[in-house]
């Protein structure tokens, strides 16, 4: 098969993976050798779907023995199949890297023959890159559920980031849509990776040249909207994963109907929930950088408000907290104000040391007054509307589509897809399993 055709198939097959980061590893280049890692990550371009492309994201092979219903590469799906030879993929990565197209390689795979065989091929690719090409760039590898822990460890020694996809937000959904994958096949490598990473960090404190293990940490991904799992379940699970396994990121991938199966929701009700994905990411940000908890974000119900972002929604539910005075509030309080981000909060704190701030100063500092004006005073001055009843402000804060129309979701919460024809198996929640 021509390389061009292969790359087309295996790039296309990898496009459902949401992860795009090339960050978390800072490594200087070695004299006379190729590649380094830039700790903040570098995005090299953006595709027509507006998502960044920073790594050569491909599958080693899209041949798969599993038949997960949400996946394009499932065994029963009729798609062209291809596989890279390790040498071939390593060469391609290096050639792209040398032209500054990419930061490195993102390697995933369908389960070719069996998990161990697949994992060995992926390790072989990474080994050729690191040892023959002396490649110092970024590598993100997806482990294959069910692969031997020894192989996962080997992968961690070669890659910057290792990830295990949790796939779905609950054990019941997993049993329904991906019956070959058991929760333990996901959680035990996650745990193993975290343990190995911690040990390598400890060793690193004692010996300067101790080998690294997945220095950029691990991440995971789950599909949203293919099952009836609620936003609260999803956010509490991500919160648990950040805490328990120190994950760097949890990615959400809006389900796009690609098949018909009794276990999947009826096609008409599973329209791509891109807005829901967006609101989940906003919540994820609030949890990681703004010290919100999953319970605070979803205190109002199982599903997120689609009209306003989760920070605005929280603010509207807590009038007792506002208005916050920009000249005195501490950082924590400022960060609770919709329209104030981490950068503008720091700028406010810096600027008010020089003298009192007025509302027009805040605008210059980068505060989004369109939202913040309802929740903020500056020098006692309030710039919100004279009416400040809840529905009125709520409407002003509602995300409008480009044509000025209200978004399709007026009236509140996200819609879950209709129930599938097959009943959900009885299983404990992932969160319980995590904390067990």
């Amino acid at each position: 098969m021509e390389l061009m055709e292969k790359l087309g198939i295996l790039g296309d097959a990898a496009k459902f993976d949401a992860s795009c980061a090339s960050s978390g590893s800072g490594r200087a280049g070695k004299p006379g050798q190729l590649g380094n890692a830039f700790s903040a990550g570098i995005c090299h371009t953006w595709g027509a779907d507006g998502r960044c492309i920073c790594l050569l994201k491909v599958l080693q092979s899209n041949v798969c023995v599993y038949d997960c219903q949400y996946c394009q590469n499932r065994a029963s799906n009729d798609v062209p199949r291809a596989a890279f030879k390790p040498e071939e993929l390593a060469e391609l990565t290096v050639q792209f890297y040398r032209r500054n197209y990419i930061e490195g390689l993102f390697l995933s795979s369908g389960v070719h023959k069996n998990p161990d065989y697949t994992m060995e091929r992926m390790i072989r690719t990474m080994r050729i890159l690191r040892e023959q090409h002396k490649f110092g760039g970024y590598i993100h590898v997806k482990t294959i559920p069910g692969a031997d822990m020894r192989l996962v460890n080997e992968a961690g020694m070669l890659a910057d980031r290792v990830s295990v996809n949790i796939e779905l937000p609950s054990a019941g959904s997993l049993a329904l849509l991906a019956p070959e994958k058991k929760p333990d096949m996901i959680f035990s490598p996650m745990k193993g990776i975290e343990t190995a990473r911690k040990m390598a960090l400890e060793d690193g404190k004692k010996h300067r040249n101790a080998p690294l293990f997945a220095p950029a940490g691990q991440s995971t991904q789950m599909i949203v909207g293919a099952t009836r799992d609620t936003d609260r379940t999803i956010l509490r699970l991500s919160g648990g994963l950040y805490k328990k396994f120190n994950l760097k990121r949890v990615y959400f991938s809006a389900y796009i109907p690609i098949g018909v199966h009794p276990a999947l929701p009826p096609r008409e009700t599973a329209s791509a929930p891109l807005w829901r994905e967006h609101r989940l990411y906003q919540s994820d940000w609030l949890m990681r950088f703004y010290s919100f908890t999953a319970d605070e974000i979803t205190e109002n119900g199982e599903l997120l408000d689609m009209d306003v972002d989760p920070k605005c929604a929280w603010a509207l539910r807590h009038p007792e907290f506002f208005p916050v005075e920009a000249n005195h509030a501490d950082r924590e309080e400022l960060l609770r104000v919709p329209g104030v981000g981490m950068i503008s909060a720091d700028r406010i704190i810096e600027a008010r040391r020089f003298g009192p701030l007025r509302p027009e100063n805040l605008r210059k500092l980068g505060v989004v007054m369109k939202r913040a004006r309802f929740f903020l005073t500056a020098g006692g001055k309030y710039e919100g509307e004279s009416r400040h009843d809840h529905p009125f402000i709520r409407e002003l804060l509602t995300d409008k589509l480009d044509n000025g129309q209200l978004s399709l979701f007026t009236g509140g919460a996200a819609a879950l897809p209709a129930a599938p024809a097959v009943a959900l198996p009885e299983t404990p929640s992932f969160l319980k399993m995590l904390n067990a």
Partner: protein
């Protein structure tokens, strides 16, 4: 009011700041023939420039860096904003960069941020073409003069390659090879040969670029926010295949 013209060097700019500090003066790169005000040529003077640099270092370790980044933005009138900021800072004898209430501070911060952004853009968007001789060449046309800020990155990353990055707008060339990197100015009559075709890997990259985006989620507006049109001419993946 006098207009001080300093040419194009950093040292020249600092000398102009020194000369202008106590007078009614404006600083610019080169004299505008239509200007009503008399202009004066400033000759770069290492002693004067050094005094300004030491003055900045006394107020804050990284003040000079902000000033330098803002100066590299080459925004119109940035020299006068910088002069105003330095007068204020030296006058109050403190680092006032955090005082975003002051319009001079916001103007300078904005200019410095523009340069910082564009440096990052260049780390993302420089695309090399391999010549038959095995040299990797890229063309760029940034708004800010960022060539000096990206040398370390590319030299460190592609340490076993010979690189040329050509700033077409300023006629500057960054040369990176074994042992180090430097920037040279092109001669007045030096011609720039157009980049050769790179063949297979360019085509593979374009093919991959299209395969990996998900048509069910197409969002061209978002794409354009991240990849502004003005950069696309030099981006392999956006070029017409029949170049």
């Amino acid at each position: 009011m006098t207009i001080l013209c300093y040419g194009s060097s950093w040292e020249g700019f600092l000398t102009a700041v020194f000369d202008a500090y106590n007078k009614q003066a404006s600083i610019c790169r080169s004299a505008d023939a239509a200007s009503l005000f008399p202009s004066e040529r400033v000759t770069p003077d290492p002693i004067k420039a050094g005094r300004v640099e030491r003055g900045m270092a006394r107020l804050a370790k990284d003040l000079a860096e902000t000033i330098y980044m803002a100066w590299l933005s080459e925004r119109e009138g940035v020299e006068d904003d910088l002069l105003a900021l330095l007068r204020l800072s030296f006058g109050q004898n403190r680092d006032i960069r955090g005082d975003m209430r002051n319009p001079v501070v916001t103007a300078v911060t904005k200019a410095a941020r523009q340069t910082g952004w564009e440096r990052q853009r260049m780390l993302q968007f420089v695309r090399f073409v391999q010549t038959p001789e095995g040299i990797y060449i890229a063309d760029i046309e940034p708004n800010s003069n960022v060539l000096a800020l990206i040398g370390n990155h590319f030299h460190g990353r592609f340490n076993d390659q010979r690189l040329l990055i050509r700033d077409l707008r300023r006629r500057l060339i960054l040369v990176s090879q074994q042992g180090g990197w430097f920037i040279r100015e092109m001669g007045n009559d030096e011609k720039l040969p157009p980049l050769p075709k790179d063949g297979l890997f360019e085509d593979l990259w374009r093919g991959y670029f299209h395969a990996v985006s998900n048509p069910a989620r197409q969002n061209l507006k978002l794409q354009q926010k991240f990849v502004p049109l003005r950069y696309r001419e030099h981006l392999t993946e956006f070029q017409n295949v029949n170049r």
